[in-house]
């Protein structure tokens, strides 16, 4: 008779997630599931709204990556207006995209994951957090918060409001960049570069420290999906889709993101409200794919900034003779490389005279009744797909977000970690095991407020349940 271990986060208001670990008759881990109970309905809510309102509305889905929704929505609007936006507008949008990456990645690495790595998975849970990190290395903790602040400040400067700004609109952006603000942002660059350097030094030490555990942290072959530039470089705002397999073979390239629905399907499972996107030609669940930093740094041929390119080459050596880095633990390293790229590229964009241009918006009316926007959000490729009537009123909307696209892989990661670390015979969930399972999920930095559109905190509820329904162990925190 099998047993079930459940880790169930409960939200303050609605929508919740939990982790269930299924044991077999021998008390070995049979399966593991990362459930997300999702409140669907956002797409429906947008029906009847005007196209021009959509960037402002969709950016309010999420408090962590609002700029990504803003940009992707505006790009869907560009598609419906059938316009090419001015050079300055594109560069400003690129700047905003990179600022979003920087602040999101900084939060993920310094605030959420570094305590595990620097203090250890088995350290006292009461202090295994940012406060413990402060006690251990105050300067490191402060640097992380300031790096995130740099990203946030760019978002604030460009949009005048940090969160939910409607600065990006179909056709371009609303306001040009003032020279004084450009200079202010450039003033941050030396500190930001230094801080990312600290992060990269730290992650390399972490790789050595956890050399024994890393191979069990979501180490499997999957497809990797993301945008690349016209000549195969790391892309974040535009480009075409590339799909690579777990052996490093590019199995599809130069795919038009506007036709995403031809390549990807969405499966559903009765135990989760979060959908399970998959690559259609491989069917479900074999069409499992990963998006986000690990995918992006793996699939690109090069990174256009020099320091990040050096790091990419080091990263690729981790793949051994496979040609692709398949271990989800290295999401963190890829995230750090992307932070470095973001800082370098922000500097390049700010030093480009075109960034101060004043031709920032193409004006047009509705020229198509359907449009798709696609960008690389911090957690992976993001699609907004709108149908409008001739007046620009939304008839139907579909948003495919990164956290959902990593859903199958997150489940696989939890299963692998659970199988390695949980001793079902003991029937106990230790803090160290719980934290390793959580850490496996954190590799992907899932944004549940985005994927579930839910609200509030998700405290953990952990249950060990036999197949007969008996609760063998229970942990809450």
């Amino acid at each position: 008779m099998s047993k079930t271990i459940t880790l169930a986060p409960v939200t303050r208001i609605e929508g919740h997630a939990k982790i269930t670990i299924q044991l077999d008759d021998n008390n070995d881990v049979l399966d593991a599931r990362f459930h997300v109970n999702e409140f669907r309905g956002f797409e429906k809510f947008t029906e009847g709204r005007l196209l021009w309102e959509m960037p402002g509305i969709t950016s309010r889905i999420c408090g962590i990556c609002p700029a990504s929704h803003l940009l992707t929505s505006a790009k869907a609007g560009d598609d419906i207006l059938a316009v090419e936006i001015p050079e300055t507008a594109e560069k400003l949008r690129r700047l905003l995209t990179l600022a979003q990456w920087l602040q999101s990645h900084a939060l993920s690495f310094f605030h959420l994951s570094a305590p595990d790595f620097l203090l250890g998975f088995d350290s006292n849970p009461a202090t295994r957090n940012v406060f413990g990190l402060i006690a251990a290395d105050k300067e490191f903790a402060k640097r992380g918060i300031r790096l995130r602040k740099f990203g946030q400040e760019i978002i604030e400067i460009l949009g005048s409001r940090r969160i939910h700004t409607p600065w990006t609109v179909p056709g371009g952006v609303r306001e040009p960049l003032e020279p004084a603000k450009k200079d202010y942002m450039l003033g941050w660059i030396p500190e930001a570069k230094e801080t990312v350097g600290l992060a990269l030094d730290a992650i390399k030490k972490i790789h050595k420290k956890f050399a024994k555990e890393i191979p069990e942290f979501g180490n499997f072959r999957s497809l990797l999906v993301g945008l690349v530039s016209k000549d195969g470089g790391l892309e974040y705002y535009d480009g075409t889709l590339r799909i690579m397999d777990g052996n490093g073979n590019t199995i599809a390239d130069k795919l038009d993101p506007r036709k995403y629905f031809e390549y990807f399907g969405e499966a559903v499972e009765p135990w989760s409200y979060l959908k399970f996107p998959y690559y259609k030609p491989f069917d479900y669940p074999k069409g499992m794919y990963r998006v986000g930093p690990l995918a992006r740094v793996n699939i690109c041929d090069y990174i256009e900034t020099p320091l990040a390119e050096e790091e990419r080459k080091i990263f690729k050596k981790l793949s051994g003779n496979v040609g692709v880095v398949n271990n989800s633990f290295y999401y963190h390293y890829a995230r750090c490389i992307e932070m470095l790229f973001a800082v370098e590229k922000i500097e390049m964009l700010l030093n480009d005279p075109a960034i101060l241009g004043t031709n920032i918006r193409s004006q047009a009316s509705i020229n198509r009744l359907e449009g798709v926007g696609c960008t690389e959000a911090p957690r992976g490729v993001l699609f907004h797909h709108y149908h409008v009537n001739k007046d620009g009123v939304i008839q139907k909307a579909n948003l495919v977000i990164a956290t959902a696209q990593n859903n199958i892989a997150m489940n696989r990661t939890v299963r692998q970690i659970a199988a390695y670390f949980i001793d079902g015979k003991k029937g106990k969930i230790t803090e160290g095991i719980l934290n390793r399972v959580e850490a496996g999920i954190r590799c992907y930095d899932p944004c549940l407020s985005c994927s579930t559109h839910a609200l509030g905190q998700m405290p953990l509820h952990v249950e060990l349940v036999s197949a007969g329904g008996e609760v063998l162990d229970e942990v809450r925190r």
């Binding site: 406060f131 407020s449 609200l455």
Partner: protein
């Protein structure tokens, strides 16, 4: 005169969850001399700012109350153990204290009753009343400061 920061936060697309933002906007109409921050959720970098003020108000929707509530808060790290994207006002105070050795003289959480969280830009009647009452509550606290 006390230097006052009002932080109103919540998801303005989720019905009553917008209460904190709406209340802060209402206070701003009556007190332009205060400073205001409107957010979807609290974020760590606020710690660089909150220590610069005598009084900080964190205004949020609260599910389990029927009347607006005020709570004087102290630094604490208890609320944030799971390490998600959520961070509490108490943790922000603790972070500010530990990293910058600065804190506001007083910090308050004002909870506004909230019950409807569907996708909507409308507030329920109870929450609307709570938002309306909020400026007077803030004024009373400042008067007693």
């Amino acid at each position: 005169m006390s230097k006052v920061l009002v932080i109103g936060y919540g998801n303005t697309l989720r019905g009553d969850d917008a209460a904190g933002v709406k209340a802060a906007e209402l206070i701003a109409q009556r007190h332009p001399e205060f400073e205001y921050i409107y957010l979807h959720q609290l974020v760590p970098e606020l710690i660089e700012k909150i220590g610069d003020y005598d009084i900080v108000f964190f205004i949020d929707a609260q599910k389990d109350i029927t009347q607006p509530s005020v709570r004087l808060i102290a630094p604490s790290i208890e609320a944030d153990q799971p390490r998600t994207h959520f961070i509490s006002p108490e943790s922000l105070l603790a972070l500010s204290q530990q990293l910058y050795q600065r804190m506001p003289s007083n910090a308050y959480v004002i909870g506004i009753p909230a019950s409807e969280f569907k996708f909507s830009e409308e507030l329920s009647a109870q929450t609307t009343q709570g938002v309306t009452d909020c400026p007077a509550m803030v004024e009373q606290i400042i008067l007693n400061h």
